[in-house]
Symmetry: C2
């Protein structure tokens, strides 16, 4: 139940055992074209796709350095470790970063974003972290942002590393120019492949203004793909096979059903864990459906709690990040998450709390969760 | 018999099936510390190691952007696709690049390198591609370069992506500041992990002068490793397990034995394939021991030859790169390469040539190779 890397189904793990092929062969063309096609289906886009052999941060960096140049004006909401990293990356290019800062656990509102656009008519791009893994918040107004970016034809970039594949994010319908994710979160593949989608407008810009880099120069990937459906550099082949299999599993289940399963499981986790006496960290309307962050009870020791949960019940959850270390713990709710995972996690957490001397109402927690899970 | 990715032993493939762990856990500390330790043994160094989740080009890029700044003066021999890419990367940082260009298949001599140092006393770094995969050449004087770089304390950087682990390259003994390789060549792991070693002098420079990047900012990796033996970003876990297993296999066999096996097998391939009537592309003294590049016989069609070899005999070799497309083919001789691979490859190539109507002396080829292989 980690907030990524998540459990990987056996079918996906086994896909890695395909023999190592020549990445300049027809076999590779078949594999990579299929990866691109299935990624487009999950991203709900016709845009170009590049599946980078790197972790999510690699795709995020590619989404910045291919678009942002010195003195460009960029708006970005910041309320946690990953949005902070993204804003550092943008600032690192010499850009003029307008940060919309809110306390951890709380998002900038759409009105605040709109106000920033009203006050900065010359912005080049709007960047946003869809799901802030460090605090368990999720932005709920991504569908409305292109009304703002379309005003001056600025770029709309979404870092959905820890959520894409787990909730509605129709890239074309919402006019997202660049969208990045990682294979090891809601897609439930092993870490190491990070796909990115690029709109025709952003692609044109990237080709005309290549960055002083090679590995993350997306123009190079477009060129190789158009010429031969190859990648410019030797890709992480076993991980590409696994990633393709994970996409196939999502498409077999159907996007609507996958999204509903994520939503229902997180509803059940929030309400079930609240019923046993825990409180969610994030503000109610901003709560993530893939990362359930919870405040520690008074006096509860992070390390002892998580070690007990892991050793006695084999349930892994993550601690807090940065300033929130020791104050919250985070339960991943993505990928192959199911009612079984939800019930077992609530049961194991309440048992661990009981073992540590806390009075918890396990029955209330399990009943509440079961009620929510009826929707599935 | 590809020039990378190479065959991966089953033991290494199966290592990828280890369950996905938390990359912020004690289990990960154990895995990654072991990866670092074994990499140091194969690099023959006490220097810091970073195992990047990226292909070889990623490590090469890291070896450039962390050291080279605008207007730095850099010497680099260039004689093929990969040395050309490296020089482009260096030039991309705004450096003043002194290219020692030689025709493909032929290296700059040590005297030419020495002359360049004599004429440029203010150089910041010397970069060299150890083994030029595109043409099958290998530089034989890496042991002597530090006599030159030590004159003005410049940096000595070796891109050994397609050879490290297959031949003698003692990083500490030869005073190499930064050395990069890829897991999918002589180390015989799947592609996607690329280790890099960094000397204390280079490390100090990198920490004091971080590049405007995140994913390839090595200072960030040093910091995480020192603090917790973690990596800053989610690593490609299954590939790290595989890479560790591949290093373990090399260390079990022993470096000396691995190097001798590579040398003997490539000697046998060069002499055996010459005996059946083919000619090596590279100049004799510059020939690579991991990539055997051969000229096509008059009228021999690249695609038909390689397709026949692959379909009838299941032996995969690579075509030429760039300008050499259709003119040469390349046989990989690395990783788990053995007398069996050598004999089978010579047999399959001579049979394919015979099927295509060429008069070849298979018997001479096999006898010559067998003679060489007696050394093993």
């Amino acid at each position: 139940m980690l907030p990524g890397p998540t459990n990987v189904p056996n079918r996906v793990m086994r896909a890695m055992l395909a023999p190592i092929i020549n990445h300049r062969s027809d076999d590779f063309v078949e594999l990579y074209s299929d990866v691109v096609d299935k990624t487009q289906q999950v991203f709900q886009t016709q845009n170009d796709i590049v599946a980078l052999s790197a972790s999510g941060t690699g795709a995020v960096e590619a989404g910045v350095i291919n678009l942002i140049k010195k003195d460009d004006k960029v708006i970005i909401p910041v309320n946690g470790e990953f949005s902070n990293r993204l804003s550092q990356l943008i600032a690192g290019q010499g850009a003029n970063v307008i940060k919309l800062e809110t306390p951890p656990g709380q998002n900038a509102t759409f009105d605040q974003v709109k106000e920033a656009f009203d006050n900065n008519k010359d912005i080049k791009a709007f960047y946003v972290v869809h799901n802030e893994t460090s605090t368990g918040t999720m932005v709920n107004y991504l569908d409305k942002v292109s009304d703002l970016t379309s005003r001056n034809d600025s770029f709309y970039v979404v870092d959905s590393v820890s959520l894409l594949g787990g909730t509605e994010l129709p890239v074309d319908k919402w006019n997202i120019d660049v969208c990045m994710t990682g294979a090891q979160k809601a897609i439930a593949a092993p870490p190491g492949i990070s796909p990115i989608s690029v709109s025709p407008k952003a692609k044109k810009y990237m080709i005309e203004n290549p960055p002083p880099t090679m590995y993350f120069n997306l123009a190079r990937y477009f060129h190789y793909y158009e010429e031969s459906k190859h990648t410019p550099f030797t890709p992480a082949l076993p991980l590409l096979y696994a990633y393709r299999e994970a996409l196939e599993i999502i498409l077999e289940e159907g996007l609507e059903s996958v999204f509903k399963r994520h939503k229902t499981c997180s509803d059940a986790l929030y309400s079930g864990l609240s019923a046993i006496g825990l409180t969610p960290f994030a503000k109610e309307e901003d709560r993530s459906i893939s990362i359930v962050a919870l405040n520690y009870l008074e006096g509860l020791q992070d390390k002892i709690f998580r070690d007990t949960l892991a050793k006695k019940f084999k349930v892994l959850v993550a601690g807090g990040f940065g300033d929130l270390k020791g104050k919250v713990f985070r339960v991943g709710c993505m990928g192959e998450v199911s009612p079984y995972h939800v019930m077992r996690t609530i049961s194991a957490i309440s048992s661990t709390l009981a073992m540590m001397g806390y009075d918890t109402d396990a029955q209330a927690g399990l009943k509440t969760a079961e009620e929510k899970l009826k929707d599935l």
